[in-house]
Symmetry: C2
Subunit: 392 residues, 2 copies
DNA sequence: TTCTGCCCGTGAACCGATTCACCGAGGAAT
DNA sequence: ATTCCTCGGTGAATCGGTTCACGGGCAGAA
């Protein structure tokens, strides 16, 4: 296995934009101005310039100004690679999220950034799109760049690569998934409880067969939400057969569309639908409507994540709300606190979700029509104390 | 001005999560395994290990395997900083987008990634949130890391810093904004035309006063869309006074809420509303409804971007569609092609938008109620050939 | 047998910043 | 006057890869 990705065969690509880069991209332009250029220009030594940059107090005012002027005149930008190579440190954190197009994750990312910026760390963002290989590629990139740590929403069930990463000195915090290993921190929301709430709600409305559009079992959230759904059905004395499961590859609107299509062709359709997330629900509702089915009369729908537009859909969507921003904040906090040789020990934070009931499940201010004061302030919320943190 | 961000005063922060990092975060763990460790372990020289990594064909099969085994046994990861320092090259591109939470930009990002991955480049993503300082910080970070180039949706009107960046050898491509300078590539959509379409549509429906929730004039898109709106009114023989403008700081749902609030208190409200983007429209519609106004009867609303959920809102939103994914693809393509000393010259690509008419402007299948086959397939599309590319 | 190539592999130089032992000068203390 | 500090500044060593001039060994040709 070649260690560096092979770039040789990009030319045989089927896409319209045929990739192929010039033989030698390297060494662009004349040469970056270096610290020694600045030193020469200012008539001082290398070390002095470095001191001006990093410990200005150790340099006399006049020298400092002279060096500063030289820096500006040459528009010198220190070479991050060299700095990092020598210093070994870096103020960057990487995050590999499942799907950057999902508002849930962008809100989490926002939370991460907000926490990191408190300590002047910066975030490098990447989206794995549920692809294990992509995730690995980005993790490797981050590690090569020497990030302080990574925040990951794993795309696969196997976490060994993350443990190895950690053993090599890279901080790892699992995002939106409780860590199965004690010494890797994690920040999650109780997905089992959230899904149970959602399905319990549907059952309480009289539904006896519940469709469930879920993602691959390699994604922990999917596993947990399924478990929660089953638990709720079990509590109600309904067997597992009451859950009509469909597995789709992508947790987005296209997945929802595919899921509903599959659900509708298969014999007796359920009367209610629980979707693994709101994007899936979005696609599901679009497709249901295209089939002439009305929501919630022909099919009640519940989503998950309560993304910002859930309350504003044609039929406002009942969904499970999670403390997204805080999730990111806390994850970044754990990462920073755990860093360094004397870092804090791993922690596992779990938040409690809450159910927000709207018209799509037919329980809210019923018969809502367009133009009504649906959603917004009128949401009915169910669940424990919002955003409860639990440590184990 | 200190060159490195000052981290000393993070402790006096008002946030709940008080930031403050341990004095010496640097030098984590024992020491990363280096190429010389591998060489020693495999009983070969440094250069040979490097050759195995970069030009495997120059190494005999037996040696190569021995080195590979050593690499795996020590779980060696090459130090990206050292590699880059010496080689000067890097296969990373940075992007600084206006708002990562806006689906428009995440779709653009997706397009960028898709194009980059053709040549095995990777993308580092960052969001400026319209803040010039944040943008500058990320650009600096990227430059220090020696990225091949950056894709930027500028947060401010002043582009000098981007020109300087380019003069230092970093490729720059403007995203979603036509470059005012010939030798900096750009990929954009004709915002003037798009906005003109939108407002022309409203005028054709009989509206004579159009509200316009816009962002700060430092953002080019805001300037262009305003110009388009004015042009359409002018064409219709209506003066500029027919445009009731409100400027909001943030181009998201909160901004829309603030905009509508301001619009409603100020004397005679317009009968139609053009929002600078769909997120703003989302917040605007939410707020209009909270005030008991119905859409489109009391107020017609048109957005911009046609994000994926626009067709699925309580009242499906009329919006201006742009070829988002392609926008990103082409921008990344220009960046890669322009790289290297023999790179292609700068290009300016401009796409044409199209108007998608839905119920929110009251022109689509009218009187749509919840549960109807609104949106989706029934969209009426206006505009030239979709996604026309123009070079100048 | 000697020469010419070729194939593998070697190790030193180098990229650009950080760090630290060291030094000269000037002031204070003895 | 001598010693001792402190302050400001110096420059060599170092981080971990990449590259390249060089050399040893071996096969084929003269």
């Amino acid at each position: 296995m070649a260690t560096t990705p092979d770039r040789a065969d990009a030319s045989s690509d089927p896409a319209r934009l045929t990739g192929s880069r010039p033989a030698d991209t390297r060494r662009r332009g004349p040469r970056r101005t270096s610290i020694s250029d600045v030193a020469r220009h200012a008539g001082v030594s290398l070390g002095t310039v470095s001191n001006v940059l990093n410990r200005p107090d150790r340099v006399s005012e006049t020298t400092r100004e002279r060096v500063q002027r030289a820096i500006e005149e040459l528009s010198f930008i220190p070479n991050g690679s060299a700095r990092q190579l020598r210093a070994g440190t870096i103020s960057t954190v990487g995050a590999v999220l499942l799907d950057i197009a999902n508002p849930f994750f962008t809100e989490v990312a926002r939370g991460i950034e907000d926490r990191l910026s408190l300590d002047d760390y910066t975030l490098m963002l990447a989206s794995s799109d549920g692809d294990v290989a992509r995730e690995a590629r980005y993790l490797r990139l981050f590690e090569e760049h020497g990030v302080l740590g990574v925040l990951v929403t794993p795309a696969g069930a196997d976490l060994d690569h993350l443990l190895e990463l950690r053993s090599r000195g890279v901080q790892v915090v699992l995002l939106d998934q409780t860590s199965p290993v004690a010494d890797v921190s994690s920040v999650a929301v109780d997905d089992v409880a959230g899904a149970a709430m959602a399905v319990r709600h549907l059952v309480s409305l009289g539904h006896r067969r519940v469709g469930f559009i879920n993602g691959p079992a390699t994604i922990q959230q999917c596993v947990d939400r399924r478990a929660g759904a089953l638990r709720a059905l079990d509590e109600a004395g309904l067997g597992a057969s009451a859950l009509v499961e469909v597995e789709v590859p992508a947790l987005n609107a296209d997945g929802g569309e595919a899921g509903v299509t599959e659900l509708l062709v298969g014999g007796t359709a359920p009367t209610a639908l629980f979707c693994v997330n709101d994007l899936t629900a979005l696609g599901a509702m679009r497709t249901l409507r295209a089939h002439g089915l009305s929501i919630p009369d022909d099919m009640a729908v519940v989503g998950y994540d309560d993304v910002n537009f859930a309350s504003m859909l044609t039929t406002p969507l009942t969904s499970v709300r999670q403390p997204t921003h805080r999730l990111g904040e806390v994850a970044a906090d754990l990462l920073l606190r755990g860093a360094g040789p004397d870092g804090a020990p791993a922690q596992h934070v779990q938040f409690q979700p809450e159910l927000v009931v709207r018209a799509s499940s037919g329980a809210a201010p019923s018969g809502t029509i367009a133009g009504d004061v649906a959603g917004a302030e009128g949401d009915e919320r169910v669940g424990g104390v919002p955003a409860t943190e639990t440590l184990r």
